[in-house]
């Protein structure tokens, strides 16, 4: 099985047409299609033609994290199938891509899917990881003359180690004033079903996160994970605070298209 994967990869490198697939994530698909769209448009500008395999649904993280692994496997299997012949899989979420890193554990007792899981893990990238690590791009020529603060989502920054990539991209945006977020590394309190099951603890966490965002007096809060941003934005809206919350892909696209 390992041998076959390796041969596949080498063949892929030899062919001229590399298949790059978008993993929109379920939230990106259902709630925030504008972010998946911004990512597709940005990548098109830098010469990457994306595909969107329609078979994808959700990475299965809600079930996995809650301990329902059988249910998580059913959801995860759609990704294994949908991206089976992709060379690169790119998603606008460190957390959902991080979930793919759990697939080898999730499928440890299923040899066929385990091999697919290992392969998918190796070819999956969070959006800024792909831009910076693969394409070597840190300057998109964007301009965004606003005061911006950045929340480093836990799974992306801690578990995938994505720290420098977004910083490099933000620092190269013309006119953008980046203000540090106090206690930036503290979780926003989302945690998937945690926010529903332990609503009051989660509520205390997101309230404090929003306090810190407001302390910066930034006009815009950005990040790499729409689930966390949805959480913080929801609390800011609840408090009727006008801070604009944008995924970094959205911010960069707005910056290059002069919207």
């Amino acid at each position: 099985m390992e041998r076959r994967n390796q041969t596949d990869t080498i063949t892929a490198a030899a062919k001229t047409d590399i298949k790059v697939s978008m993993f929109a994530t379920c939230i990106g698909d259902a709630v925030y299609p504008r972010i998946a769209e911004a990512m597709a448009r940005l990548l098109a500008r830098v010469g990457v033609r994306l595909e969107f395999p329609q078979g994808q649904t959700c990475c299965g993280q809600p079930a996995f994290n809650s301990g329902y692994w059988e249910e998580a496997r059913r959801s995860a299997a759609t990704l294994l199938e949908a991206f089976a012949d992709s060379d690169f899989v790119i998603g606008p979420s460190g957390s959902c891509i991080g979930m793919i890193h759990h697939y080898p554990k999730l499928f440890e007792h299923d040899p066929v899917r385990l091999a697919m899981a290992e392969e998918l893990k190796a070819k999956s990238y969070e959006f800024t990881q792909f831009l910076v690590q693969v394409l070597g791009i840190t300057d998109l020529g964007a301009a965004f003359p606003h005061k911006v603060t950045y929340h480093p989502s836990c799974h992306g920054s801690r578990l995938l180690g994505i720290q420098e990539e977004p910083m490099a991209l933000l620092q190269n945006v013309k006119g953008l004033e980046l203000v540090p977020l106090p206690f930036a590394e503290d979780c926003c309190g989302f945690g998937g079903t945690f926010a529903v099951k332990m609503a009051d603890i989660s509520g205390a966490m997101v309230t404090e996160k929003a306090d810190h965002v407001l302390e910066t007096s930034a006009e815009v809060l950005t990040g790499l994970d729409m689930a966390c941003l949805m959480n913080i934005a929801g609390q800011l809206r609840y408090r009727r605070q006008p801070v604009r919350v944008m995924h970094l892909a959205e911010l960069l696209y707005e910056g290059v298209s002069g919207a």
Partner: protein
């Protein structure tokens, strides 16, 4: 017993507690950050610490025997206790044999696990905690709410009130006055105690010694003044040698308080010898299992025994920050407690929902000086509960529904379409503010977004045509192609390299170390 939610609610409504916990955990984590940065090679030492712990726990039977042999050769009495009750029984028998009337104790989490103070009081023996924080919570009749700062949840004024009651006069809330009172009070207790009880930070197998880290000197007093010493030790406290202690002594104080070293670090090898000026005439070491050996051989939880009880995960944890330690409901709190409490108790039916009180942010793993993947273990605990049929009924039904919808993209798409119709009843200006169904808790603090009118999968066709029509310059596209090809080649080389490494490891046999040892620089999931 109260549920996790109820206990957390008590804490969330206690502004004093939250302020005190925030204040101290911030100070501790800043201290740790600075100490590890100043150290310079923190990650290398962290990895070394992890390797020492992995090795010791993998050969725990050998090292425990070696430790017991050496300790006995030094003249100490070594007892093994399978359960907490057994350890208490052994300690009470020693106390009865000595006709002890009073005991002084230095800080020991294992003794908290045994509830030894209650047992001693019931046997008519006075037990006095001599660590300042422990003394305070003993006066308050509470349990410690932090592994190293037991009274973290109390502020100066609350402490002054407690100590004033003990002093029979009003003491001002000034640290020097309060500490001065406790010092005088405890001095009498040290001098009159029949037995000194200590914990054990590390046990050195090669010489049968125990090592204590402390800042107040009280553990020195407890282990030198009374005629009899009883040391409680978790069976996993072992390290092989004194040179391994160097690594632990680098990691523990820095991780715990940001100190380079604690004020006192005592190595105790057996009872007083003829030439010694002080020390106990008799020394007993009670080694406690109490569920620890259940973790041995369990690939998902064995690393739990690597813990050196520094408390760094508590200080880093954003949940602990808001609810403090008592909400965890066990002797050990914070992320380590949320895993340890259920793991030590094999009976899943008795687990409460403490493993659910985490957003799985991984701050605990990042802070841990021996890299225990607590955030993964929390998920394993949740899974074991579900697998054994103790999952919440509503949640189980919800997850079955989730799987039914997400297992097929056609059903997923249909569900999105249906959701769009149904949500019309509750959407206001593109948002859902109503506190209904699963949004009840969410919307208590937030406004939920609505489903998009057109999901991405429906937009894709149009967008794809538009993007193809406005394709990037050929030269840009070629550059991207080259970059991606290079990445694919790197990936192929990596697969090749890994396979070669696997072949080497296989031919090296079983002595290459435990299979689950993570290599330097790898992310948490290998």
């Amino acid at each position: 017993m109260r549920t996790v939610k109820e206990r957390a609610e008590l804490a969330l409504n206690n502004e004093f507690l939250r302020k005190a916990v925030r204040f101290t955990t911030e100070r501790l984590r800043d201290g740790k950050r600075k100490a590890s940065e100043d150290h310079g090679n923190w990650e290398e030492w962290r990895e070394r610490g992890r390797q020492i712990r992995l090795h010791t726990i993998a050969h725990l039977d050998y090292y425990l025997n070696r430790f017991a042999e050496q300790a006995r050769a030094n003249g100490a009495h070594v007892h093994f206790a399978e359960t907490g009750a057994e350890a208490v029984k052994i300690a009470l028998e020693i106390a009865a044999h000595k006709a002890a009337r009073s005991v002084v104790k230095s800080k020991s989490m294992v003794s908290e696990e045994l509830h030894i103070n209650r047992a001693l009081e019931e046997a008519g023996i006075e037990a006095v905690e001599t660590d300042l924080g422990e003394y305070i919570i003993q006066l308050a009749g509470e349990a410690p709410s932090h592994i190293i700062i037991p009274a973290i949840h109390k502020n100066r004024h609350q402490i002054a009130e407690l100590l004033s009651r003990e002093a029979g006069e009003e003491l001002p809330p000034e640290t020097s006055v309060l500490a001065g009172f406790v010092r005088r009070k405890l001095r009498e207790k040290f001098l009159s105690a029949d037995i000194g009880m200590t914990g054990c930070n590390f046990a050195i197998a090669e010489t049968g010694s125990i090592v204590l880290f402390e800042n107040e000197g009280n553990a020195r007093m407890v282990s030198t003044v009374p005629k009899t010493q009883i040391t409680f030790m978790g069976m996993e406290r072992i390290i092989p040698s004194w040179s391994d202690l160097e690594v632990m002594a680098t990691l523990l104080p820095r991780s715990a308080t940001g100190q380079k070293l604690t004020v006192y670090m005592s190595g105790i090898t057996g009872p007083r010898r003829t030439a010694d000026g002080d020390g106990p005439e008799e020394m007993h070491i009670i080694i406690l299992d109490n569920g620890r050996s259940e973790q041995l051989g369990d690939p998902e939880f064995q690393e739990l025994l690597n813990c050196i009880r520094c408390g760094a995960c508590l200080n880093a944890c954003p949940v602990y920050r808001h609810i403090g330690g008592h909400a965890y409901g066990g002797t050990y709190s914070g992320p380590i407690g949320a895993v340890l409490t259920p793991a030590l108790n094999k009976n899943v039916a008795e687990w409460d929902d403490i493993a659910s009180a985490s957003s799985l942010c991984g701050a605990c793993y990042e802070a841990c000086p021996v890299k225990i993947p607590l955030h993964d273990m929390l998920v394993y605990l949740r899974r074991r509960k579900v697998e054994q049929g103790y999952g919440n009924k509503l949640e189980t039904a919800g997850m079955k529904g989730f799987a039914a919808v997400t297992a097929s993209s056609k059903r997923f798409h249909r569900a999105l379409k249906a959701g769009r119709v149904v949500q019309r009843l509750v959407v206001r200006n593109g948002e859902i503010p109503a506190r209904i169904g699963p949004l009840k808790g969410w919307n208590k603090y937030r406004v939920a977004p609505s489903l998009a009118n057109q999901p991405f999968r429906e937009r894709w066709d149009t967008l794809q045509h538009e993007l193809r029509a406005s394709a990037a310059l050929t030269v840009t596209a070629q550059a991207a192609q080259e970059r991606m090809k290079a990445a694919l080649n790197r990936r192929a080389a990596k697969v090749e390299g890994r396979e070669a490494a696997d072949r080497t490891q296989r031919s090296a046999g079983d002595h290459a170390g435990p299979a689950f040892v993570r290599k330097e620089g790898q992310t948490y999931d290998g």
